[in-house]
Amino acid sequence: MGEERRVLTGEHFLTGDHACAEGGMAAGCMFFGGYPITPSTEIAERMSLRLPEVGGIFIQMEDEMASMNSILGAAWGGWKSMTCTSGPGFSLMMENLGLGIVLETPTVLVNIQRGGPSTGLPTLSGQADMMQAKWGSHGDYEIIALAPNSPQEIFDHTIKAFNLAEQYRTPVLVMSDESVGHMTEKVIIPPREELKLVPRNYTKKKPGEYLPFECGEDEIPEMVKAGDGYKIHITGLTHDKRGYPDISAEAQDWMVRHLMNKIQKNKKKIIEVERINMDDAEVVVVSYGISSRVAHRGMDLARKTGVKVGMLRLITVWPFPDYMIKELAERVKAFVTVELNFGQIALEVERYVAGKAKCYLVPHAGGDVHKPEDIAEAIKEAAK
């Protein structure tokens, strides 16, 4: 056993959850701290089997607060780390997602969304944590969140999430859903040498020269790990570039702007979308995750009746591709947002459409997916 077991190159028939775990493995994850919760448990199960094969550590923590903290600790110990959760567990992770953001810690948090609020629908799908992902931890921050819609994508995007985490020194969310997590499809795991992995950006500076939150134009600070002689101090308090607490409005202004800028300034590099049938589209369906696959059929049904409809599938949900919506709003008639909630990303769409086109939402409380016919009806209504 050893590193040769890390990447299981080949064609597999995997659930989204297992594909996610394999994505973590392929990305170089060495540490998983988690707490089982349906429907994300299979990720933890797979990691408990796989990590010891490469000398990594799986630890079942006592709760989700501990899980989130443990992966932050592991990252500062020098390992790539991840956790996964669902529903109430995501709420419990919010506190220390904030810590991860403020400490600018590269790590990956996967949320296999289920129906809520509260215990809600443990075994059934939902997409109602999308705003929580952006606003759920207290205070102002920017986050990167990806929304894969198939087991193959959850594999690919878990790797991508690790890469973005290293590139931008920040926690990255994979916001999938029960439908994708529990769906089984072909997953192609490429040969190890074809994987594009971003290594940790360790500083070349010497102890004494290095400041843990100092950064250049790109706003991305370099990383060190504990034990290398840098004697860093980092704190969840508002801090200066040295990492020392500085409880002043000025320090707060610098730190929060920096945290926001590092994502916002780089968003055109981060954001990824899929455009389907967009060449002649007069109506644009905006969707992500499982809903995008259901909406695809809705779009096909509407196209059969002659409606010129296309889809902007969000692969990156946060940062939100505001500039794409703004640009489309200048030339299309209407937007139809399809998601398993009562209007979360739909609000972002409306915000950037800013009255320049009609905006529709096809709401759904979760527990199932939309009826494609309902989506087709909404598209036809929007095309009028």
Binding site: E62, M65, G77, L99, A226, Y230, H233, Y244, P245
Partner: protein
């Protein structure tokens, strides 16, 4: 109190000439702790103990939660992490597992470690995680003005217990031992040498080690309970602490007027979380 001396011939020196200056972030001194607070005494003992062990400074990391004791991480010139309230132990768990060369010390207060972080404390003890936990117990939430905490003795007054605190406090050595810790000691801030020796003993050990420091909080706890100054509390410890190594931890409850049982309650070995990882799991994988 001694009356002020008439002459001033003592050598007055710069702060960075202090023998512990190398392990302190002198650019952050003086610290925020109040006059008469015992936290600094415990930290002095820790620094001395660390020096005596000879463990390289680069291989020690300190993790704190928040609160007065949480500031320890920020004052030590080591790799140090000041996390969120109660979460020092799980953060340290990841840190220690990812980097086995590090000796990881969690240094935090009673509210942080056994109230909001109580679940982490008992589970980390259960796993016998390789962490040394220093729990400074001053019976209150000092930084925020003296609210009742998980160790506030019965009848003690607190800002959230103006009529006296009437829920049972934790007995930390008993809690730690029952949960699976392998080294458990308690000292007061007055037992500097013994505390330092305990820390020196515990630092190189494996497994989950807990050292409780009973510590005066003159500003919040003592004032609300009319217990006098920090010095008065030290005198109280002098008169009321009993050293009893190997004592039954059930006898170590602390109340407002009774004795404080100190000593090394437990010092045993049992396999740690990492031992199981490296031996049992590795064996199973190797056997395939």
């Amino acid at each position: 109190m001694n009356k002020p001396a008439a002459h001033l011939e003592t050598a007055i020196v710069e702060q960075d000439t202090h023998p512990m200056a190398d392990l302190l972030r002198m650019d952050r001194m003086p610290h925020i702790w109040c006059s008469g607070c015992g936290l600094g005494t415990g930290l002095t003992c820790f620094i001395m103990a660390l020096k005596e062990t000879g463990i390289p400074e680069d291989k020690v990391a300190v993790v704190s939660g928040i609160g007065c004791t949480g500031r320890v991480a920020g004052y030590l010139n080591l790799d140090s992490f000041h996390t969120t309230h109660g979460r020092g132990i799980p953060f340290a768990t990841g840190l220690a597992l990812a980097n086995p060369d590090l000796r990881v010390v969690v240094y935090s207060g009673d509210g942080d470690l056994v109230a909001i972080g109580g679940n982490h404390f008992i589970h980390s003890a259960r796993r016998n995680m390789d962490l040394m936990v220093v729990c400074v117990n001053n019976f209150t939430y000092g930084m925020t003005g003296g609210q009742a905490g998980p160790t506030t003795p019965i009848s003690a007054k607190a800002s959230t217990a103006p009529y006296g605190s009437y829920d049972y406090p934790f007995n930390i050595p008993y809690l730690a031992i029952a949960s699976g810790a392998t080294y458990v000691a308690r000292w007061t801030s007055l037992h500097m040498r013994r505390l330092k020796n305990s820390m020196r003993e515990a630092l190189p050990k494996k497994g989950f080690r807990v050292i409780e420091i009973i510590c005066p909080c003159p500003t919040a706890f003592a004032r609300k309970n009319r217990l006098g100054s920090g010095l008065d509390l030290m005198k109280h410890y002098h008169d009321n602490s009993i050293i009893k190594h190997g004592a039954d931890p059930r006898e170590a409850d602390i109340d407002m007027n009774g004795k404080v049982v100190c000593g090394t309650f437990l010092d045993i070995e049992r396999p740690t979380f990492r031992d199981f990882q490296t031996e049992n799991i590795a064996k199973q994988l190797g056997g395939e």
